[in-house]
Symmetry: D2
Subunit: 336 residues, 4 copies
């Protein structure tokens, strides 16, 4: 095997996120899928289970169970539930695998908060010290050498990147309201079998987990640590399949600073700052790895609107972006 470092295993490859990872890897020129697991599809071939994915002539894989042995040296993408990630990641890292974990298990550094928001006793919390938080636009160098990358939640990516531009201004801010709206594929409807009933979503709209969503501590820790008692995050469920749009309202102590200059300095291949916030919309980012941002200020307030595809930049695409960095290849490889 000439490129042992570029083989990839995907654990939990059957949900919406796992499927998106498989779709990206199928067309990736440098990374090679060698191992897939799914408790649901164990024993079936990939093409039987997902005939809609691109063909891989001569490379038919069969789904294993989550506890099957991962091929030596392979990168591991974990699209598994929190409990499975907590249980398996320590051992995989120990065996020398470099891991990108898409669960919430390794994102937070506050143990009490993890317990409060995830309702789980953490069994491998010390691994947090080794984990890089997987937003390449903010933590590129740490990701490049990380043994473990904690891929962010779907909501936080679209919030933390713009909040990071306000870091120097935290003392001037009275409060930040984050009103986020997600399609069904991101809002807990992760499996095709279960999830929301048609009649509870169609021609309907609602907020959920108000003042108690598990992405709030993640947003605070990485986006605005000084403002933790001044940040409100309210997620909502949209009657559509993919995409998250977040409306971030900032209340300033006095006149809003000129943020356009600051945001226009954002120079990352997957971040686009649009001329107006009204141009930010889901159908410009769906099926891409882009994060779109627009903003407007008036008096002592600023409204920032961001949009991303929760399955791509909010999950699978960002995971591959991280993997590209870890593998030492071009950050954008294989991504749209």
């Amino acid at each position: 095997m000439s490129q042992p470092n570029n083989s990839v295993a995907v654990l939990g490859a059957a949900g919406f996120t796992g499927k998106e990872i498989l779709r990206i890897l199928a067309a990736h020129p440098s990374l090679s899928l060698v191992h897939i697991t799914s408790d649901k599809y164990a024993g079936k071939t990939l093409s039987e289970s997902f005939p809609e994915l691109p063909r891989q002539p001569g490379k038919e894989l069969t789904f294993q169970t989550h506890d099957a042995v991962v091929p030596q040296g392979a990168f591991v993408l974990m699209a598994t539930p929190n409990e499975v990630s907590m249980a398996r990641v320590p051992e995989l890292v120990q065996r020398g695998h470099r891991v990108v974990d898409l669960s919430g298990a390794f994102r937070l550094h506050d143990r009490a908060r993890f317990l409060e928001y995830y309702k789980l006793e953490h069994t491998a919390f010390d691994l947090m010290q080794q984990a890089a938080f997987g937003i390449p636009e903010l933590f590129k160098e740490k990701i490049q050498s990380a043994r473990l990358v904690a891929n962010p939640g779907c909501f936080p990516t679209g919030v933390i990147i713009p909040l990071s531009r306000l870091a120097a201004f935290q003392a001037d801010i009275l409060g930040i309201s984050i009103d986020a709206k997600s399609g069904v594929s991101g809002a807990g409807g992760r499996t095709e079998d279960g999830g929301f009933s048609y009649t509870s979503v169609y021609e309907n709209f609602r907020a959920y987990k108000i003042l108690g969503h598990q992405h709030w501590p993640e947003i605070v820790e990485y986006g605005a640590p000084d403002l933790e008692d001044r940040i409100v995050f309210t997620p909502h469920l949209l009657p559509l399949f993919r995409g998250i749009l977040s409306t971030i309202t900032v209340f300033w102590k006095s006149q809003a600073p000129d943020l356009h200059a600051i945001f226009n300095k954002l120079d990352h291949p997957f971040v686009r700052v649009l001329p107006t916030p009204e141009e930010v919309q889901l159908n410009r980012v769906q099926h891409t790895n882009y994060l779109d941002i627009g903003l407007r200020s008036r008096g002592k307030q600023t409204v920032i609107v961001t949009a991303l595809d929760n399955l791509v930049k909010g999950a699978a695409g960002q995971a591959i972006q991280n993997l590209n960095l870890m593998a030492g290849i071009q950050e954008t490889t294989g991504l749209v």
Copy 2:
């Protein structure tokens, strides 16, 4: 005619709002439709134009043009554009008609703001002094005797009623973010012919008129006049037909007051305070005249969620509720 005070004319009876008015009147036990206008359907009968409306045996009306003479003594509901309302309302009031106007022409008392937000020179601004603002839960007595009622915009109703409960607390508030999401029938897609294209709405979501929507001055004037430089209103377009859900985030100077007691005192037939804000959702209010409200506080913030049907409590239903009061009949008559 035995009940001259209960005959009703509807000007502009062909858009989504006009049709909803016709639907409610068709089943109304005390009000009697006697005159309808529509530039689009002029010359056609009501049942030809809207075969889906309830039958009115022996009572076939024909659409007139907007400038046709309204029968003496009839109440007038104006579901007309701002310009048509400005032009015709003064004359109708002069001729003794009592009018409910659903346009934006007679809602604001600040002439400069009207010009700024409506881009129209007002030709009958003095009539504003006679107008009652048409939220019965707040201005019932004034409405009962009004010659002219300015029916509120679809967004403001769901915001002003909860904000009115915070009137005594305005000095304790740092800022209020109002993030409102509307179905297509309320967001400018008022005519069946034009409006949004399918592919621009389906599987899409976006904000519009950020920091510049014409309902903002209405919300400020009637909802929180002391906080005008601290209120942000951001409307969004949902991929569905009817309903508005508003998420109102209040930032307090210190610990949030206990609002449940204050909101539970709301005792109006069409306002329901639900146990939790997550229960507030569009499919509980669609096709009804209800405004649903739920809220939760944590630390120095409160999140209030409200929902209503933009065509009913946000327009036609509230207009009939006002008309009931003006006609001296039970406020809830003919409404669900």
Copy 3:
């Protein structure tokens, strides 16, 4: 009680159909709801369970279980599963109640077919002889005096009425293809709790129960008994909530007869024959009791398109239409 014959009990009042019955009865001027059952809501009041239904001041009902005693003399509407209808209808009829049953239990006269299509041994098949088939446009007199009316399935109503116009031509027909498409509320998604998942319906379309749907024998028995080996019925699931559109293609042995004259003779208050089949569409019949029909012939073929609201003319509305006839009041009372 001054109008003992106009009191109504609704058994199984909690599904989509039951709710639609309650909605119609709430506004019905002559029929009075006196008893409601639901295994799901038993013990709760109607307004607690369905706050979106019209208010009935001073008339609060509480849901009973299905086996509760029905008030003497009340008409009974059964919106219950086949098994419950089979079990309770004989006893109710015996006790003197006149019943409209919306299940499939009493529609077919061929016992073998009932077993084949419903997978149930019928325990009260002799009652079939007393049952009228509940399409008022075809069986009005029988319904008026019936003790038991079997309300048709949602698909058959839109097929049997047009096929009945072809009765005299059966010998000239080579085959009839009925391609029917239903919204989720009619296609088995009858309960709000269960039913289809959002991601299995949204942006999707499929056929189901091909050459084996339980409405096929009903269509054959009442619509075209001589053509039973020449009628194909294929139902499909639409990504929308309410409405059924059926496309009926007739292959004639020779040139198609002139059917417009024959169809234009249809003179029923809830049947509309439109000028062209392209005008027949769901949003003209939703929330109404209308059946719309349009047709076109060319050479040796005819295409007939029909549309109805599966919850109204396809279920609850037609049931009330039948009840009106049984109660000796105007057929259209309380219906749109």
Copy 4:
């Protein structure tokens, strides 16, 4: 230029179909896009106009107008209106280009029918003799050497392939009903700007161009020429974006033949015969080049259900499949 035969020009690259062509070509390993035209985007770069398409580092193209000179030797894909194709194809072929035309201009061999169904006088009808009909599963060899390929309409592909399996049985057939349902992107809503309004499609369904759609003569010529007076084609508009499902009902003179064996012999890389017709559904073929087929017979009838993505196998994907054959590369290259 080392591979002169593998450069591709796309004329009319801005509609839904054009965009899909660009998407496929962006990831195609052997074909190279060198020229794009669009009257709408002329003068703008590709990445400005379609930021959601994959990046092509170092290969930025600018849209030309339709009449710009096509680079020597390039294959030409025409995603232009019928009139533009009629006007430009003769000249392009004359100049030595090999062309795949996605319009309807070169599909029919019956001049009278072209005039009847397209309402256009054909100005280059003699070119029809050189054109291959672009269904690779049926006309592979002719396509490989063709100067001009007429890519089929979106509906015909899903009908002609299954009908071709019945060719030997035409004399045993009494009639064929083809009931086809298309998403908005295929049913005439070809441009993002215009097209259908949201409120005319959402929660609605209807048939259109009954007994008069321009794809009927195409289906007859290539699918069942002996049955032209016995084939009915009825298209419908679905409230979704992409996909066509066709329900084909065959009436046999006597017992239906065993078709499973015949269909299972279909051995083409993009045709899948599924075990049951109920498994054929849009979300298994969307974003792929597959045509899925399922069927069931009972007595003297057969129901065949087929599904494809109208933008891929129904247009852009099939065009690339044809181009692959013309360029002498693997038929499946660059296609999912």
